[in-house]
Symmetry: C2
Subunit: 344 residues, 2 copies
């Protein structure tokens, strides 16, 4: 079966890191049917288009999407985020936003005394609900009487499928532990709904250890004791924040991969590094493509090619372990080295 | 003028740390007219009452409130939080939730290579709006078709007064920098309203350096580069999360003080340590009262007694600097030592 791959390089360093990820895919997934899509700030400035309906239709026909990064300081905040990135996540029902964090050999945590191997967690962030749904409004804009609302929509259906996914992942991991993070002492409607769904699903997985934490406590523990986490399941906004902390304590977003996954395969899933377009270093060939390459490992997992996924992770791990701390990376050299390792 | 002080010890270690804070107040603010209020989990279990209207009326007549901590695992999540703590914050219009974070001499940050003195920031958290307002609902509870909403209500009025307060505080600090944190690329209604209010207020303070960060980026920078912050202004929920990260990188919540402030003095302001009731260590005399004592410094600031406030901070600083890292503290000994220093 030929895999149809949509490639959205995007802006800034996006196309650079995606090029390296494709070198790796060419080795482990030869004969992939790739189509490049020109989307992002550059296209918006050229044509005024964010995501034409025809492109959305085409993307829907693909098996998987590889995205670099979109965004640029020249863009009004929210236009590409809501109109492109979130549009894809919502249209393709990417209800699992998967974000593993691991302190790799050869990387240095900003946390004192935390050694490689000690942090190894995955956040299952719900991807299609909560405050990200885009409900809300503004009245009397620009006046002293202005009021703005944001509505968080949450369903048992949406919470439960994310929670179930987290438990399935925990079952496949040695520690078998799931932490639910919410803020049910303040957000008593959505929070307690999540807690009820969590309790019900947990009952089906007696082998899995469970705990609940408020988001503020979890944010603190991610700094003081990140080793305690195995699988975290949480809502869209909390997941956004917690995964950046998790990335920070594991050496920064240079290695943070993510998958926007629709496990039903009804729509294409999308894989992207957590980092942004970093326009300040674009075009210099110094962006670390590790996160983009690691995102292809998640892509391979999604295609059922877990063995290849583990090989990609191991190759990236070996490359990272061989780095001299403090020495700047060379984008193409990293991709070449990882691809060469895999070709052997 | 006699200061009318309401004291809510609360649950767990709350009464223990408040007792030490009062030792300190007795020295710097002799003749204070203190009234103890029995509120929290214990009262709830005894009487079913969370915050009787008559008590709320009495509290409204006080000048300031000193609160230890409320909460206990025996309580259903949200009852005391919404019914007592948030009820007080909202009724008394505590629109400034003030949370300084400083890496004190003698404390150890979990961050490698960050030395005492390097981190010194204050978060101005809006305290009366956003997702904390308690709007939302649940339908079809307990069924697969359950839906839960949470509504975030935000006003220009509320954002602006918090932002203005942040700029005033920045003007009184050497670095004069204010960072606005929100998520205006996703929460385009409330986020852009905050950004507009921020831009307008900033124009009145040309001496103050300003920046904007998304909450996920700020959460990361608080770990990778907390030194960069001076004053952060943000909404209620983001402030909740960010201040726990700030506490974590400055050695934990043992030293994190907070003020729920109504600068108009129309209602009493309330001062409380950020930590909770910690029932696991209650009654052992080992809770660190430093955060409660530092909260009295914020109380003194609010009463216009800034010199006394600085003296209290210096006395706590000296006590903390004299600690042997890793050695458990003795609650009463800390209070005695700080009070003795101030009495000299
Ligand atoms: C760019 C933004 C919309 C996005 C999000 O908030 O999900 C990003 O922060 C992420 O985490 O992928
Ligand atoms: C207990 C809870 C309601 C409270 C909050 O969320 O504000 C606490 O976390 C805090 O930060 O003071």
């Amino acid at each position: 079966m030929t895999v149809r791959l949509a490639v959205i390089g995007g802006d800034g360093i996006g196309p650079e890191v995606v090029a390296e990820a494709r070198k790796v895919l060419d080795v482990v997934l030869p004969g992939v049917d790739a189509t490049e899509y020109d989307l992002g700030a550059a296209r918006y400035h050229r044509t005024g288009e964010v995501l034409p309906e025809s492109v959305l239709q085409e993307l829907a026909q693909q098996d998987v999407i590889l995205l670099g990064a979109v965004g640029d300081p020249s863009m009004p905040s929210g236009v590409l985020e809501r109109g492109l990135l979130l549009k894809l996540r919502f249209t393709f029902d990417h209800y699992i936003n998967l974000r593993p964090s691991k302190l790799w050999e050869g990387t240095v945590s900003p946390l004192a005394g935390v050694a490689p191997g000690e942090i190894d967690m995955v956040v299952v962030r719900e991807g299609t609900e909560g405050l990200y749904c885009g409900a809300g409004g503004v009245v009397r804009q620009g006046t002293p009487a202005e009021v703005a609302t944001e509505e968080s929509l949450n369903t048992r259906y949406g919470a439960e499928r994310a929670i179930r996914d987290a438990f399935e992942r925990a079952m496949a991991r040695p520690r078998r532990k799931v932490t639910l993070v919410h803020k049910n002492n303040v957000l008593v409607n959505a929070g307690h709904m999540w807690s009820r769904a969590f309790a019900d699903v947990a009952a089906e997985y007696p082998e899995v250890e469970t705990e609940y934490q408020h988001v503020d406590a979890a944010a603190m523990y991610l700094v003081t004791n990140p080793q305690r986490y195995d699988v975290i399941v949480t809502d869209n906004l909390f997941g956004d924040i917690l995964t950046d902390i998790a990335a920070a304590v594991t050496g920064g977003i240079g290695l943070a991969a993510s998958g926007n996954i629709n496990p039903t395969r009804e729509y294409p899933s999308m894989f992207e590094p957590v980092h942004g377009s970093a326009p300040d270093i674009a075009g210099q060939g110094v962006a670390d493509p590790a996160a983009a390459i690691l995102s292809t490992a998640l892509l391979l997992d999604h295609l059922g090619r877990s063995e290849d996924a583990r090989r990609v992770e191991a190759a990236v791990g070996a490359e990272v372990a061989g780095r001299t701390p403090g020495e700047p990376v060379k984008t193409a050299a990293v991709g070449d080295a990882v691809a060469a390792r895999l070709a052997d």
